[in-house]
Amino acid sequence: MLPNLNNLPVYDTTGVDERIARFCSRSIKSSSKKEGLKLAISMIDLTTLEGKDTRGKVQQLCYKAMHPHDLLRDIPKVAAICVYPSFVSIAKKALEGSGIHVASVATAFPSGQSALEVKLLDTKSAADQGADEIDMVISRGEFLAGNYQYVFDEIATIKEACGKAHLKVILETGELDTLDNVRKASEIAMYAGADFIKTSTGKVQPAATLQVTYVMLDAIKDFFIKTGKMIGMKPAGGISTSKIALQYLVMLNEVLGEKWMNKNFFRFGASSLLNDILMQLVKAETGMYQSSNYFSKD
């Protein structure tokens, strides 16, 4: 049932900015840096979502997912590959036996401007091909028009269509404008059955920010206190450096704590982040930064 949205916590942007600044001023060095960077790799949804994607591109990315950098020992695999529905079966086959999940965007990604039947078909097709996770987008137009019940029902219907697949609900926070809206959309998504809430498609600027992620983590925390159910979080888009990834992890650590500090409850939607982390890890091993040409670009 649609929760009461009139009594939600509100957010003061200046206050949120200050809190974020405190997270960013944490100094993460030596062993905790290595630990954090490896954890970040294991949380990556390695993503390619382009009109020009091909079978070959997806297969190459899958190999990278399984072998991020074989020269370094103890590098974890990424959590998942994230692709368009047309590549689910290809990715599934390429990743067979690796334990890496296949996530598929669906529901007329990225705009979500289609009839519900089309979105359902889109979702079912991805799920039938074996997608382990579905990344849906909410109808931002309906949300901004105040049709919260519509948004809620749509998510609940898609959740049903997912079957066994986990559902990540993309709020597209860059189009919601205020932190209070982000909180409201998070609330709708969690009560409608989301397993994860996700910031962005990556196609709208701004994509993920620490500010909106903070508000979503706060919503997840309150939801847990109320219902006892743990919801996952996925910031996506614009997280391209190790430094930023560590800032997200510091925030996760200090807001939700250890139970959320794993790939079951936190993901990074990213593509170039992986190589930047690998570069930092090699630097930690050898004391030197290597040229980016030493890291495979798939």
Binding site: T14, R26, N253
Partner: protein, 488 residues
């Protein structure tokens, strides 16, 4: 709500490796003398005292103890320098003050480390707040030096003469800046005494003042304890006393100068009310509570040490506050990840511990997070007292430590009455997303500084000072010039 039910649930997993700021770049002597008449000179009686690192009880340096003879030398030097300094053009005085500001900026890192070593405050605060604000204060008043005629149109402001300034241990360099900058800009000469537990950054500032060629005798820095301060207050050739510190000492000063023609400004204690309404942004308010009381280990005269939460959200706020306190890192002041450092001195630690005992014996419900405290040095875990009332001693008296009392209220009139029901009146905080409510409260709260949806924010351009027993006179801003001038 079950006690601490989410304490384990949201426990942080990732303990950050130590990230200490290095100390190899600082330059400290083993022994410090008095800075009088542009020279570092030994005290007449030859006595020295130790300044201790409060985070490990180790001695950092010996510092001269100024007696009446030394204070007299300092006042004489200041008197001799007065005419020249007062007659210098405002533009030229400004040049010297700008030079001090720039040198503080250049040596900011060294100052930050020494401030944390000597006073126990976390490097994050000394680096990001104390030292930049101190430089800002000099920059700001340097700008006023040649514009005094515009600050006081048609009133011909003149300096007072020799000013005695006595500063506290909670913001050692920043308080020196608050005192020195406006006094210099207006053409006064100065005898300044830093607190006995934190004299080092003032002595480093003396080096800077010396380096920038300020005419000798304009600033004199004498170190010592209460007796040295009394010698300044009672010196017959001092024209004005500016003091920041406890209300007890403030009252002594007011008595001591009664019947003399000395002017005085006092910035004293406080017991600030921090008021959370049900329509506040609760999460940011919780952060504001933390900043209000745990900033600088609660050694802040304008700390928000009395929390008032509207009853409808009290459970939620307290639950969130407890969870937030679990994530505060208490420990080595020089570690960049430390949120709460060491208590400034053994004496202050005893005072705080004594108040905690009183709170318990009065029946308050105590809450402290599970943080491990270092074995050596002076430490106090962040502390809440729940179920207390206006009648409790810990609600009435200034504790000057990381101890917060929590009360609830029902209506806006009730909270205004309770907030004002104190002999103090330095600061207050209001948390609501309703703008009209903010103005309603700010007009009725008896406090010199009122923050809305934030707390403990300082700026050189903004006047700061107290109502009632929190003192009189303002520091900062245009208003901060006035206590250092007279009009013909």
């Amino acid at each position: 709500m079950k006690k601490n039910e989410n304490k384990d649930m949201f426990k942080a997993a990732w303990n950050y490796a130590a990230a200490p700021e290095s100390t190899d770049h600082i330059n400290l002597q083993k022994q410090y003398d008095l800075y009088i008449d542009g020279k570092f000179i030994k005290p007449v009686k030859g006595k020295y005292f130790d300044t201790i690192n409060p985070s490990n009880d180790k001695k950092i340096a010996s510092v001269a103890e100024a007696t009446a003879e030394d204070v007299d030398l300092a006042v004489k030097a200041a008197r001799k320098a007065f005419k020249g300094w007062a007659n210098l053009s405002g533009k030229d005085r400004g040049k010297y003050i700008f030079r001090i500001a720039r040198l503080i900026q250049e040596r900011a890192r060294e100052f930050a480390v020494i401030e944390s070593l000597d006073g126990g405050k976390p490097i994050r605060e000394s680096r990001d707040i104390d030292i930049p604000l101190a430089a800002n204060h000099f920059f700001y008043y340097a700008g006023w030096a040649d514009k005094l005629e515009y600050a006081f149109p048609n009133r011909k402001p003149k300096p007072l003469g020799v000013v005695g300034q006595i500063i506290p241990w909670n913001f050692p360099l920043l308080m020196a800046a608050w005192k020195l900058a406006p006094a210099l800009a207006t053409g006064n000469t100065i005898v300044l005494k830093p607190a006995e537990s934190t004299p080092l950054t003032a002595l480093k500032l003396a080096e800077i003042i010396n380096d920038c060629g300020l005419p000798k005798g304009v600033v004199n820095i004498v170190t010592g304890a209460g007796e040295t301060g009394a010698n300044i207050v009672n010196h017959p050739d001092i024209n004005k006393i500016a003091f920041t510190g406890s209300t007890g000492v403030g009252k002594y000063i007011a008595k001591a100068i009664a019947g003399t023609d000395k002017k005085v400004t006092l910035e004293l204690g406080g017991k600030g009310a921090n008021i959370i309404f049900e329509d506040a942004a609760i999460d940011q308010a919780v952060e504001g509570i933390v900043n209000a009381i745990f900033f600088n280990q609660g050694h802040v005269c304008c700390a928000g040490s009395r929390l008032f939460v509207q009853e409808s959200v009290a459970g939620l706020v307290i639950q969130k506050l407890k969870a937030r306190m679990e994530t505060l890192i208490v420990g080595d002041p020089l570690d960049k990840n430390t949120d709460i450092g060491a208590i400034n001195s053994k004496k202050q630690l005893q005072t705080i511990q004594n108040y905690i005992k009183i709170g318990l014996s009065e029946g308050g419900e105590i809450y402290q997070p599970e943080c491990s405290l270092p074995k050596e040095g002076n430490w106090c875990a962040p502390t809440l007292f729940l179920n207390v009332s206006q009648s409790h001693k810990i609600v009435q008296e200034e504790i000057f430590g990381p101890v917060l009392t929590v009360q609830t209220f029902r209506t806006i009139n009730e909270v205004i009455e309770k907030a004002n029901n104190t002999p103090y009146g330095l600061s207050a905080g209001v948390w609501t997303q309703n703008g009209a409510k903010i103005f309603h409260l700010t007009q009725r709260l008896e406090a010199g500084v009122i923050w809305a949806n934030t707390f403990n924010k300082f700026d050189a351009t903004s006047p700061f000072g107290g109502y009632k027993e929190s003192g009189f006179g303002r520091e900062g801003g245009l208003q901060g010039l006035k206590p250092y001038v007279k009009f013909e």
